[in-house]
């Protein structure tokens, strides 16, 4: 459909705009600058600062262009003397309460950008006291309207500075543009900030002036990013001044694929800035990406020199020495006694090179560790020809129902969680077409002609999303497969399936129907602890709101393939595949899990997700090559890796940080952090995006691909040290990557979700519901923003640990009563060869006898809370929750 175009004239330039745009948007599109203070690209227009006022021919007064819809034949002038005068007067009265040392300093001519003027102590009102100096939008607007003199006395408000962690607040600088209030409410769905007081004392604050975290803050930093002045600033980089150059890259923490801008100054990453055009996250990210990056890259624990263990101690060595030692060990050990472990935070190129080293150089099938569990995800491969998403993050906007299973997106993939909240929380506020022009503006209340989406949660414990949910199935831990199969059964029984889709696009429905036919719903109800009525209600809710998006996380993967198979079947019977707003979105654990699958760095799966006949055996490993940094030896299950390493003769550690692994390392190869290397990563929606080097690795550290190329050369494998060439090789082997050019992945990485012609129904093998052995309790990992991964990661970042919550073992009331645990008391957790003490929280909201843990305790070697559990169907070991004994401590 061809869209009507509106033609108008702005400052004598003819501009074409879509109907519904505002004059400000049209001007920006045409490259015409209109000053703004309260307007922000991520927010609905607010119309408060009045900086964007313009003159329109044949129109009375001076309308604010951020709220003025374009009209044909409009003649707009943006910088006439009258308009400038209005702006100037407003700024002038504004400056009666905004410190103006930066504008009036008589030494300004001698000033270097962002340098402290230590030699001018007699300047009593100094620019350097403002953290936003040279990064201040008010300064730019003052320049634009040419404020030269200030006629009125300045009054300091005297509001005490904030004492919150991470975010430094100084509301003496606030201009009450309410951007922070709006971004927290409209975009993040939280509402920490509010406009308080009235009249001349109007100011932004939390409700009742409580600390931010108490007001519900999750420290995402969105308010810091939108603040036009220095009122909200990142505490750690407060007075570091502006950046020298900017580098766009992708966050390395979780797999959402948030792009952001690294602000670099003098070889250091100062802070992270948003890019509101970024495809996956639209300028939003979470505490980890916002406040963790600088600390992560420039960490005192960074490794700088290659080392080799001599006489029992690690001693610095040359690269040649270290690489030689590594290659020798890998060459001289029998292949089946070599294990190669990768972190799924590496780039696609590195993971590809790594599997090449393992398979072609060494010839070992012992590959993997901190990687998605291919065996559990196999039903996705069966149905869709690949393990990966069949929907994109943007589909959240189009879906009418979300089913979130075994995941807490609000904490693990916060930008996805935020988006779910955006589209579920509003009551049905719809806009009639009369106000068409709002349709182009972002914001939560302005969902055009659209009902809010329904949210269904399946989780044994409540999460933040519960307050927005239409249904919460409090499933007994470990029985999700039964529950989802039950939903499928109800949908088939009630005729809510999509027979046309099934017959047209799927294969194997008859076998599936036969298999599910004898599923007894009462038995499902008994096993899962979910009432039959509730099951029916949710099945209807899900099936009647299409398109629907299914999101699942580690909670499902840990249960093995049956639960994933049931979810695939649920999507197929309701026809929720391959149409806008429908599909399955796996919420992986770490940044490049999807890339690791595509690059084939997983045992049993070659590049391009070609299944291989490989049987890994980790019992006789003598030489271990560990690449990356998400390895932990402290958690209960981490002891397994520790035991494995203890049995090794050679341990080659290639990483960027001094971690407990160093105790075992015989060869140490210092690698680069993500801001120091180039490459690509694949997000959970299978979007391939560029990671860019912003700073140089410290000391002698090298990018991991360069190291892998050297190791490969020692083993006689040809690996290019240049990411572009490796990517080209990878692109040839991965279907869907074909035709992609590394150089062309500049800004918006493509989403490569190709679906097969027909979808195979997976084989639904529910197995038997297992009961915990006597006296043992199954403890499941929970997660939190601040302790997303393991101790070796944000744990060592001082910025993040300032906010972390207390470590607790959360138990259901039944379990607490049975074991005599009290709320607030202590418990000894005894596992297989380890034990530790934790605080207890008894939560009535938990299902049955569930027990959950703050993640890092359960954090296993790979960080995904997995332990070996035999699965007859699995080619790989499936890792699951930990079985422990609990004993109350003290009273």
């Amino acid at each position: 459909m061809e869209e009507r175009q509106v033609k108008l004239t702005i400052d004598g330039v003819e501009v074409t705009a879509r109907p519904g745009m505002t004059v400000l948007q049209a001007a920006q599109q045409a490259g015409i600058y209109i000053p703004t203070l309260c307007w922000h690209p991520a927010l609905r227009p607010w119309g408060a600062c009045r900086m964007c006022v313009v003159e329109v021919e044949r129109q009375r007064g001076y309308p604010a262009s951020c709220l003025l819809p374009v009209a044909d034949g409009m003649v707009v002038r943006t910088g006439t003397e009258a308009v400038q005068e209005i702006r100037r007067e407003i700024i002038e009265v504004l400056l009666t309460e905004h410190p103006l040392g930066c504008l009036t300093c008589h030494k300004e001519d001698q000033c270097y950008t962002g340098e402290p003027c230590l030699r001018s102590p007699h300047v009593d009102f100094r620019c350097v006291t403002c953290p936003a100096n040279y990064r201040c939008e008010l300064q730019s607007v003052c320049d634009y309207v040419e404020i030269s003199e200030v006629r009125f006395p300045f009054k300091y408000r005297g509001i005490p500075l904030g004492r919150d962690p991470l975010i430094a607040t100084d509301f003496n600088l606030c201009i009450v543009c309410a951007r922070c209030v709006r971004v927290c409410d409209e975009v993040r769905g939280i509402g920490v900030w509010a406009v308080t007081n009235r009249g001349a004392t109007t100011i932004v604050d939390t409700a009742d002036g409580q600390p931010m975290v108490d007001a519900g803050c999750i420290m995402c930093g969105a308010c810091v990013d939108v603040c036009p002045v220095g009122a909200l600033e990142e505490r750690q980089s407060r007075h570091s001044g502006p950046a020298e150059h900017l580098v766009r890259t992708v966050c390395n923490y979780c797999p959402v694929g948030c792009q952001f801008i690294l602000e670099v100054r003098r070889g250091r990453v100062l802070r992270v800035g948003p890019d509101y055009e970024a495809p996956a996250n639209r300028g939003q990210y979470c505490v980890r990406g916002r406040f963790g990056v600088s600390d992560f890259v420039h960490n005192p624990l960074r490794l700088q020199t290659p080392m080799v263990r001599k006489n029992g101690t690690l001693t610095p060595a040359t690269w040649a020495e270290a690489l030689g030692a590594a290659a020798e060990a890998l060459k001289n050990t029998p292949p089946e006694q070599v294990a190669v472990f990768a972190s799924s935070r590496l780039t696609n190129e590195e993971l590809y090179a790594l599997q090449k080293v393992a398979r072609e150089g060494v010839g070992t099938p012992n590959l993997g560790w901190d990687l998605p569990d291919w065996s559990a995800l196999e039903p996705l491969h069966t149905a869709f020809g690949k393990v990966g998403p069949t929907a994109a993050i943007a589909d959240i906007e189009k879906a009418r129902a979300y089913l979130v299973v075994g995941a807490d997106p609000w904490e693990t993939v916060p930008v996805v969680g935020m988006k779910i909240v955006q589209y579920t929380r509003m009551p049905a506020i719809t806009l009639p077409p009369a106000s068409d022009y709002f349709n182009y503006l972002p914001g939560r209340a302005l969902l055009p002609e659209r009902e809010r989406a329904r949210l269904i949660l399946i989780n044994p414990r409540p999460t933040h999303l519960n307050r927005f949910a239409d249904a919460w199935l409090k499933v007994r831990p470990g029985t999700d497969a039964w529950l989802i199969a039950g939903l499928v059964k109800v949908i088939l029984e009630e005729g809510l399936a999509d027979p046309e889709f099934i017959s047209r696009e799927t294969v194997g429905f008859d076998e599936f129907e036969a298999a599910i036919g004898n599923l007894d719903l009462d038995r499902v109800s008994r096993i899962t602890g979910v009432g039959r009525d509730e099951l029916v209600r949710v099945a209807r809710l899900f099936a009647q709101n299409r398109p629907a998006l299914i999101m699942f996380g580690g909670g499902i993967v840990r249960q093995g393939r049956a639960a994933v198979a049931a979810l695939v079947a649920l999507a197929l019977v309701t026809g929720n595949v391959g149409r806008p707003g429908a599909g399955i979105l796996p919420l992986f654990g770490t940044a490049n899990s999807q890339g690791a699958l595509d690059a084939g760095a997983v045992a049993g799966l070659g590049p391009g997700q070609v299944p291989l006949d490989e049987t890994p055996d980790l019992d006789n490993v003598k030489t271990c090559y560990i690449v990356g940094d998400s390895f932990d030896l402290e958690g209960p299950a981490g002891l397994r890796l520790r035991r494995l390493l203890e049995g090794c003769e050679t341990v080659i550690v290639q990483g960027a940080y001094a971690s407990p692994l160093l105790d075992f390392a015989t060869v140490l190869l210092p690698g680069a952090a993500f801001a120091e290397k180039d490459g690509t990563v694949t997000s959970l929606e299978r979007r391939i995006q560029r990671v860019r080097a912003a700073v140089r690795p410290p000391g002698e550290a090298r990018p991991d691909l360069a190291i892998l190329a050297e190791v490969g050369r020692g083993l006689g494998v040809d690996i290019s040290p240049r990411p572009a060439e490796v990517f080209a090789e990878l692109a040839e082997r991965v279907p869907g990557f074909a035709g992609l050019d590394y150089e062309e992945l500049e800004f918006e990485g493509p989403v490569v979700n190709f679906l097969p012609e027909a979808f195979n129904f997976p084989d639904l093998r529910l197995g038997e519901a297992e009961s915990a052995p006597d006296g043992l309790v199954t403890v499941y990992p929970g997660r939190s923003f601040y302790r997303y991964d393991l101790t070796t990661f944000p744990g060592m970042l001082k910025t993040l640990t300032t906010v972390g919550r207390e470590r607790v073992l959360e138990v259901g009331p039944e379990l607490a009563a049975r074991l005599g645990l009290t709320d607030g008391g202590a418990v000894r957790v005894i596992g297989d060869g380890w034990d530790l003490v934790s605080r207890v929280r008894v939560s009535a909201e938990l299902a049955g006898d569930a027990a959950f843990w703050d993640f890092e305790y359960v954090g296993p070697p790979g960080g995904n809370g997995r332990e070996r559990v035999p699965d007859p169907y699995a080619p790989n070991p499936v890792l699951g929750p930990v079985k422990v004994r609990l004993e109350p401590v003290g009273g």
Binding site: G47, Y62, A82, I86, E89, I90, R198, T201
Partner: protein
């Protein structure tokens, strides 16, 4: 129950009421009367009646608009007309009851008027008195006469004829009638009501709302309170007709929290109407259903601004959204919404019942109909008068309110942020919307504040600015910071610390405040300042140059610290 039956019953009850077989004492019990002592008067009256051992009915009514005569008491003896007396102290009221009820003495000395066509014992008929002969009472027609909590009284006075007639018309016809009547908004902006309704009627939306703006916050304006306290039924009938005309299924009355009596009387009225089937499902047996919800105001001045009110009703802070989109297309919860003032809506029943031609015939060619003007300040007889447009303001000020020409310095027209004009100039203007606009001013919400010679203009503007500053919602920069800058500057001037350039500064930032502000609050915040600097510049100059206050109002600091 059909309307005919209801009205017939109501009429017979009303007939019995106005032709009583025992004495009636009617206390004027609006908020104004109560503040003037109506409760004590009532107690004294009851005591006096007890002392006389007379069986009399003591009733209440709303405020008739003669503020100076409060507390007022009407007395009717069997077979005699109803006579209004006032003002009365409790002791005087007791004496009056003893004289009138006990001895049959009509007490001409305290009498104001009689409800009759001819003089009674020398007491003039109501319509012949100075205060009523110029009035044309439509919204106030029952105020001061009926019991505001008795639905029968209202029905007997022709109530609900308008709705009954509207239900026989199509919504478009009702809108057309209102449009042709020339009715314009009485809240201040004087936007044609019919046009507003037409926009809403045409707007698409699955649900529409009607909002009655009863957050009457302008100092010096109390016309809406008179209606809500004196005749809430007529307002609700108007809202119901408006809802029918606009296709709204739900309505809200947003009543200022400082009007507890109005709120309680409207609540009572809604309950009574619901009980008789005049509100709720299938009104008067038609297919039209309408639910009316009463909301107490959130207490800020900006809650009375159209968009601020909507935002407050939605549960947010009263910060006006910007227009467009207008409420007619995207109002409450982004649904098509009509927001009308109390007086506007109270006009509607009579317009529909008596036909638009009748209403359009009132007033002048350019300003049709009537408006309630409330006059206060430096006058002898403050009060509220419902006047047809076209009457000279001179008459209102000097004849109705009886201001002393020698004492009158200036007049503030309709609200705290409105024109402050010299009295001589105002005396040349007629009451009229367009007529006043031609003269560069407006009647606003209809509250005229008379300023006497002893008024210190800079100090007055300082008070106004303090109000405007404190009541700014703080959203848009020019309003929040402009009113603050005005206040700070005026404060210095009134402290004797003014600087010669202060006046120019205040004039300089006026365009920024006027054209920059988001809503009406800021757009007119500069008006009192600019007007008074124009008309009373010398007073400012005396404060600044000579550091003295000619009226002796300002407490000038002994040592001037201005730089």
């Amino acid at each position: 129950m059909s309307l005919e039956v209801l009205v017939a019953e109501a009429r017979s009850r009303w007939e019995r009421k106005v032709n009583p077989d025992r004495p009636r004492v009617i206390i004027s019990a609006g908020s104004c009367g109560i503040f003037a002592g109506a409760r004590k008067v009532k107690a004294a009256v009851i005591d006096a009646l007890k002392g006389l051992h007379v069986d009399a009915s003591v009733e209440k009514t709303g405020c008739v608009g003669l503020c100076w005569a409060e507390p007022m008491v009407d007395i009717q003896l069997p077979g005699r007309p109803r006579v209004a007396y006032g003002p009365l102290t409790p002791a005087e009221a007791a004496r009056l009851v003893e004289d009138v009820v006990g001895r049959g003495d009509p007490r001409v000395d305290k009498a104001l008027y009689v409800y009759a066509d001819a003089p009674y014992e020398g007491i003039p008929p109501r319509e012949k008195t100075d205060w009523f002969k110029l009035q044309y009472r439509i919204t106030q027609r029952n105020v001061g006469i009926i019991d505001p909590e008795d639905l029968d009284d209202y029905l007997a006075s022709g109530g609900y004829e308008g709705l009954a007639r509207a239900l026989t018309m199509t919504p478009a016809e009702v809108v057309e009638a209102v449009k042709k009547s020339g009715l314009r908004g009485c809240g201040g902006a004087a936007f044609p009501t019919g046009l507003k309704w037409e926009f809403c009627l045409r707007a698409r939306g699955d649900e529409k709302y009607i909002i009655c703006n009863a957050d009457e916050g302008n100092p010096g304006t109390w016309k809406d309170r008179l209606i809500m306290e004196g005749d809430p039924f007529q307002l609700i009938e108007g809202i119901t007709i408006a809802a029918y005309a606009n296709g709204a299924s739900r309505g809200f009355i947003y009543i200022r929290d400082e009007y507890p009596l109005a709120s309680s009387r409207v609540r009572t009225a809604v309950e009574k109407l619901r009980a008789r089937g005049l509100l709720g499902d299938k009104i008067l047996g038609s297919g039209f259903s309408f639910e009316l919800i009463i909301r107490d105001g959130a207490g800020s001045y900006l809650c009375g601004e159209e968009m601020g009110l909507i935002s407050s009703l939605e549960g947010d802070r009263a910060m006006p959204r910007s227009r467009p989109p207008f409420p007619a297309t995207n109002g409450l919860f982004y649904k098509p919404t009509v927001v009308n003032n109390v007086e506007t809506l109270a006009n509607v029943p009579q317009i529909i019942a008596r036909g638009w031609e009748w209403y359009a015939g009132l007033g002048t060619e350019r300003s049709k109909g009537v408006r309630t003007i409330t006059v206060s300040g430096a006058v002898r007889r403050p009060g509220g008068f419902e006047l047809p447009f076209g009457i000279p303001l001179k008459t209102v000020i000097y004849d109705l309110a009886q201001a002393d020409p020698a004492d009158l310095k200036a007049v503030q027209m309709g609200g705290p942020a409105s024109n402050i004009l010299p009295a001589d100039f105002v005396a040349t203007l007629p009451l009229g919307l367009d007529e006043l606009r031609d003269a560069g001013t407006t009647i606003g919400s209809g509250g005229l504040v008379m300023l006497g010679q002893q008024t210190c203009i800079p100090n007055l503007v300082l008070q106004l600015m303090e109000f405007l500053r404190d009541e700014s919602c703080g959203k848009c920069f020019p309003c929040q910071m402009g009113t603050r800058a005005y206040y700070n500057t005026l404060y210095r001037i009134c402290r004797g610390e003014g600087r010669p350039e202060d006046l120019d500064f205040m004039l300089d930032i006026a365009p920024a405040v006027q054209f920059g502000s988001l809503c009406g609050h800021g757009q007119v915040a500069h008006v009192p300042v600019v007007d008074t600097i124009t008309h009373f510049r010398h007073e400012y100059e005396v404060h600044i140059r000579e550091r003295r206050c000619p009226q002796g109002v300002c407490e000038l600091s002994p040592v001037a610290t201005a730089v």
